[in-house]
Symmetry: none
Subunit: 232 residues, 2 copies
DNA sequence: CCGGATCTTGACGCCATCCTGACGACCGTC
DNA sequence: GACGGTCGTCAGGATGGCGTCAAGATCCGG
């Protein structure tokens, strides 16, 4: 990631806790901003757009749940609620109001740091494409480029693998002949439907129990092909 | 939203807990998938791509942390860890390994539901345009090219599918013979009204309860055909 | 430069789909 | 009541897409 260090806004009215949390967070590489009241916290959140917020529910000037709801109206950063009250009703209410996590005092620093990291990790903008797929007894791993059928390794040629991969990434959907050709053989290969017939045939022989009656690699006549988990 | 209910995969070896969690989750509108071992859980996760996973750390066949790490290698859905051990070290280790949340047994159902909702709410972008139509018991999905009648799959030939699609896109409206012919068979097929009679007949036999008294695929005498949701 | 793996291309039989024709049902008109 | 028109129904023959096999052509590493 390597960019700016993340900014954490801590809103709590206990100076004791702040003196304790500040160093803990900075020592883990975060920048810290503090506020002692809800009003000040909202103001700082608005002006500094922190990457995450630590919010004590027991603030003097305003009800904690209201603060969460008010923030959630516009803020998209994670809000981790901290409270001395540990009843289930309190937790549910805060989470429903929009909090991302709920910690009951007292809590350990390391757990707090871990939960902050989880919250930051889950921010939008990080959608890793899956690197593994499975369809019945067929499994496929992108990183190792390994394909197995019922646990046993199956060797696929490059073109076979690409074809299977395109189908897997769009599992369930029908892909037209030209879509598949473009993805596997590159543009300019349209109308070469014969490739597909040959390679689908090879895939079926390597992956299907009964290549003549494919379970997963289905033909959509006149349209294209599709890979399904289970033959409806 | 508004599509399929979310699928939750619950991996736990205590039947007692499963019997307790299953109804709790389904009653909140989730679909539930269960597994009793890590191996089974990973397989189901791979093949069914749940929207979230509930994972007990104390599984018999494999260390819980390993399972979390292995899943995180490819899975992008939230993993909520459940454990009887509540020590800070355990929590930190699980969260660092990739878990999204950590609940200590015993926990309340409402808190669990609330935390699941938080996890689902935070998922990265999920809004593929649902290209679907429904008319009574007849449903039609453009992406998968699947047509169902009362839930059961119905196979349509390319021409049948195109004809149904044109009618569905103009649901309620009457389409003239020539309009339909042009859309399905291309221009230059005008006056070939016999095509329509044959194919409408086939569609009715595949989709209507009583093909002789069509509910949805209506004839407009001397004009054309129309697809309606409900026979006024 | 050789050998094996992979890709391409051709040929052929089969089968789903499509087209076409024949016939009956229904309705309005003369 | 005969007639013409439109529509629904059925089935057989034609067509084209698909699966299948195998023989070159090509690529690549040793």
């Amino acid at each position: 990631m390597g960019g700016e260090p993340e900014l954490i806004l801590v809103v709590d009215d206990e100076p004791q806790l702040l003196r304790f949390l500040g160093p803990a967070l900075t020592s883990h590489g975060y920048r810290v901003l503090t506020a002692a009241t809800a009003a000040e916290g909202e103001l700082l959140a608005l002006s500094h757009r922190p990457d995450a917020m630590l919010l004590d529910l027991g603030l003097p000037d305003r009800d904690g749940l209201e603060v969460v709801a008010a923030l959630r109206a516009w803020a998209d950063f994670p809000i981790i609620v901290v409270s001395a009250r540990g009843k289930e009703d309190d937790k549910v209410a805060a989470l429903e109001a929009g909090a991302n996590d709920y910690l009951t005092k007292p809590f350990g620093t390391r757990e707090l740091i871990a939960r902050i990291r989880v919250a930051l990790r889950n921010r939008p903008g990080t959608a890793p494409a899956p690197t593994r797929y499975a369809f019945g007894r067929i499994a496929l791993d992108l990183e190792t480029r390994a394909v197995t059928r019922g646990g046993e390794a199956v060797h696929l040629t490059p073109n076979e693998f690409r074809l299977l991969l395109v189908l897997a990434r769009n599992a369930g959907k029908v892909l037209t002949h030209n879509q598949l050709l473009k993805e596997v053989w590159g543009p300019g290969s349209a109308q070469q439907h014969h490739y597909l017939r040959v390679y689908m045939n090879q895939l079926r022989h390597k992956l299907e129990e009964d290549p003549a009656r494919p379970r997963h690699l289905q033909t959509e006549l006149g349209v294209g092909y599709r890979l399904v988990e289970d033959p409806a």
